[in-house]
């Protein structure tokens, strides 16, 4: 318990230093929000397994380290960046290294008039009106200690703004690289994506870390899909096996908007992904899909909240997990259908394959339905690889490893096939192959 207070004090006492370094950022309109969040942070407690929402996810290992903000500029080679791109895909690229925007590596294609893609730190300095309108509105810091920490230390991250009617044809690829061999660092990407009425955009959040480094990523992403906007979001989490990744995504969906999210994760020492979407008006469509592939002693936790606040909305949720060795998985999917939300369709499914006797999954679907004319379903499975199917493949001349690979690809396929961009699908297929077919 003492240790926890220590860590909290540590983050609180570093705030003064952080403020100094903001040089000028202090004058921005959101600075009061930082201070409010800090004061909230000091009042909140880090969750323990006694909290229902953290029952299976102990963050004790995370609280052992005094992470620092990286001050040094880190050089990353062009070749390394290249290795993170998707073959055959033309896209805009923005790169963050140890939490800081890298102009050198970023490369924006011709964007339609008025579209803004870049560093949120810049927009904060400029007191960008769109930013001020939305920032912090969806990811409430008052009841969430990690969001409070993120908000207090708001520094850099990605800001994407697509004005009404604009269509961004090429995907926007945001890469967050953590590389800090000497210091154990904390990065807190703070992202805001706003797609206005009738606009369309595809955004990829891609987190990458150095193999064995210990660091802490605390990411908060706020997404607004206004009326009839189409926003496709993909998150690739390929972080160090020893890192900590806590992330929260909040989606606000307005009338007839269409949002999809695909999370592909190879885990970290400890991963917590919260995906929360809310229908604020009628006619919305939301897809939350995920695939997690973990091994070792890693813990992966996906928490989703689908809030049907309004009628005539459809949500589809499908999370799939492949767990090896002594890894642990947690899926907690909550669907709320509020009293108003008649004619809701909400479907949720979580399937897991355990490749070892020691892997473990806790899965918990939670449906809270207050309307009476709705269609909702949920399902969860935890199983092993299908031996009959494996024997069938082997009896056709396909070896043990290849058979296993084929079946895992097949298992993952319905999450992957709903991604609309082929080169990203191929990238993910390759990721699965590398993970399981050495």
């Amino acid at each position: 318990m003492n240790k926890m207070i220590d860590i909290k004090d540590w983050y609180i006492s570093n705030f003064g230093e952080f403020e100094k370094r903001l040089n000028g950022g202090k004058e921005s309109s959101i600075h009061q929000l930082r201070k409010d969040a800090l004061s909230n942070f000091s009042k909140l407690e880090f969750p323990s397994i006694k909290d229902e929402e953290w029952k299976y996810t102990s963050i004790v290992p995370l609280l052992k380290y005094n992470f620092v903000t990286s001050l040094k500029e880190k050089k990353i080679s062009k070749d390394f960046i290249k290795s993170l791109l998707f073959d055959g895909l033309e896209h805009s690229l923005i790169v963050f290294i140890n939490g800081r925007f890298s102009n050198e590596h970023s490369d924006l294609l011709n964007l339609p008039n008025g579209v803004v893609v870049g560093s949120i730190a810049e927009e904060i300095k400029k007191n960008n009106e769109i930013l001020l309108k939305h920032f912090g509105r969806y990811a409430d810091h008052r009841d969430h200690i990690f969001t409070a920490l993120s908000t207090a230390y708001t520094d850099d991250g990605a800001f994407i703004y697509v004005p009404a009617g604009k269509i961004v044809k090429e995907a926007i690829h945001i890469v967050f690289i953590t590389d800090s061999p000497e210091e154990k660092i904390l990065t807190q990407p703070r992202n805001l994506f706003v797609a206005e009425k009738n606009s369309q955009v595809t955004i990829i959040e891609h987190y990458v870390g150095n193999e064995d480094e210990i660091y802490f990523t605390n990411a908060v992403t706020e997404i607004v899909a206004e009326e009839n906007a189409i926003l496709d979001h993909i998150k690739l989490q390929e972080e160090s096996k020893k890192s900590f990744h806590i992330a929260r995504m909040e989606v606000d969906q307005e009338r007839n908007s269409n949002f999809s999210s695909h999370l592909i994760s190879t885990g970290a020492d400890l991963t917590r992904n919260e995906f929360n979407a809310k229908f604020n008006d009628e006619g919305g469509e939301c897809t939350l899909n995920g695939l997690y592939m973990i091994d070792g002693t890693r813990l992966f936790d996906a928490h989703t909240l689908m809030d049907h606040a309004k009628p005539h909305c459809n949500s589809h949720e499908h999370y799939k997990g492949i767990l090896d060795e002594k890894s642990r998985g947690v899926f907690n999917g909550k669907v709320i259908v509020r009293q108003d939300a008649q004619k809701t369709n909400a479907f949720q499914e979580n399937n897991n394959i355990l490749l070892s006797d020691q892997a473990l999954v806790n899965t918990k679907p939670q449906l809270e339905i207050f309307a009476d004319d709705v269609k909702c379903s949920h399902g969860a499975t935890i199983g092993q690889m299908d031996d009959d199917a494996k024997f069938y493949l082997k009896s056709r001349g396909i070896g043990e490893e290849a058979s296993k690979g084929i079946l895992l690809h097949a298992f993952a396929s319905d999450v992957i096939t709903s991604i609309k961009i082929d080169s990203i699908k191929n990238y993910i297929e390759k990721l699965i192959t590398e993970k399981f077919n050495q």
Partner: protein, 254 residues
């Protein structure tokens, strides 16, 4: 090609095969008949290498090699093919993917080059006609949502593509209507040659009207109790399995 000597095998401690002797030469078609529970499918599964079955005693020599020492995938690469009684559904794996991977793994095993897409597709098209399967069938998941007849045709189609030396058809006829039966039998007949052999495991004589065997063996209670030419099948059909079990105490319903 295949010589089975005094084969004893079972599952979970129950002995099902109680000393099988069988010799199959290249160019021959052997039918193995018998009532339910006699051990027909067990024999087929043991030959294909299903891990759950335990071989207690005996030998299986296949083209000079000890078949029982080989992993299932190596048996397949050496030319053994089992057409499953109950083909397995594999959602998410397309028929094309299965066949291409299998074919190339077999070729690799023999030190041959992998087939390129064009060669592969032309082979596939040729073999599809054999079992009258539609093109769009290729992109569908293996056996998923297939009718009984489609599943069995798919087995023969795979056999046609993989061109085994020894094919074992495990009750490929059961549940087929007469048209599907003809298609399947026709596929098998076209693949017959002097270099390969076929073991047809069946409960009913009907299939043997279309695939005419050189030898018929009757399996009962884990042993081959009678062997003969194709006329034995007709005799069985006429007299029923009770005739075989004449001296035996229990009656098994056909």
């Amino acid at each position: 090609m295949l010589e089975i000597k005094n084969l004893h095998a079972g599952i979970e401690g129950n002995e099902i095969l109680k000393g099988i002797d069988l010799k199959v030469n290249a160019g021959e078609v052997h039918a193995i008949m018998g009532p339910n529970g006699s051990g027909k499918s067990t024999l087929a599964q043991v030959l294909a290498g299903r891990e759950e079955y335990e071989v207690k005693e005996g030998k299986v020599i296949y083209n000079g090699k000890n078949l029982l020492d080989l992993a299932p995938e190596d048996r397949a690469r050496e030319g053994v093919f089992l057409a499953f009684q109950y083909p397995v559904e594999i959602p998410g794996v397309s028929n094309t993917n299965l066949l291409k991977t299998a074919l190339n793994e077999i070729r690799k095993y023999h030190g041959e080059e992998e087939l390129d897409t064009i060669e592969f597709l032309s082979l596939i098209k040729e073999k599809m006609n054999l079992v009258e399967l539609d093109q769009k069938f290729l992109s569908r998941s293996v056996n998923e949502g297939f009718s009984g007849g489609e599943k069995k045709r798919n087995e023969i189609f795979q056999m046609a593509v993989l061109q085994p030396k020894l094919a074992i058809l495990d009750e490929t006829d059961s549940g087929l209507d007469i048209d599907a039966l003809k298609i399947v039998a026709n596929g098998v007949n076209k693949l017959r040659s002097k270099d390969n052999a076929t073991i047809v495991v069946t409960h009913y004589q009907r299939l043997l009207n279309y695939i005419v065997p050189d030898f018929v063996h009757v399996l009962y209670n884990g042993k081959i109790v009678k062997s003969g030419g194709k006329e034995l099948a007709l005799e069985l059909e006429a007299k029923g399995y009770d005739w075989i079990k004449n001296g035996k105490e229990e009656l098994v319903n056909q």
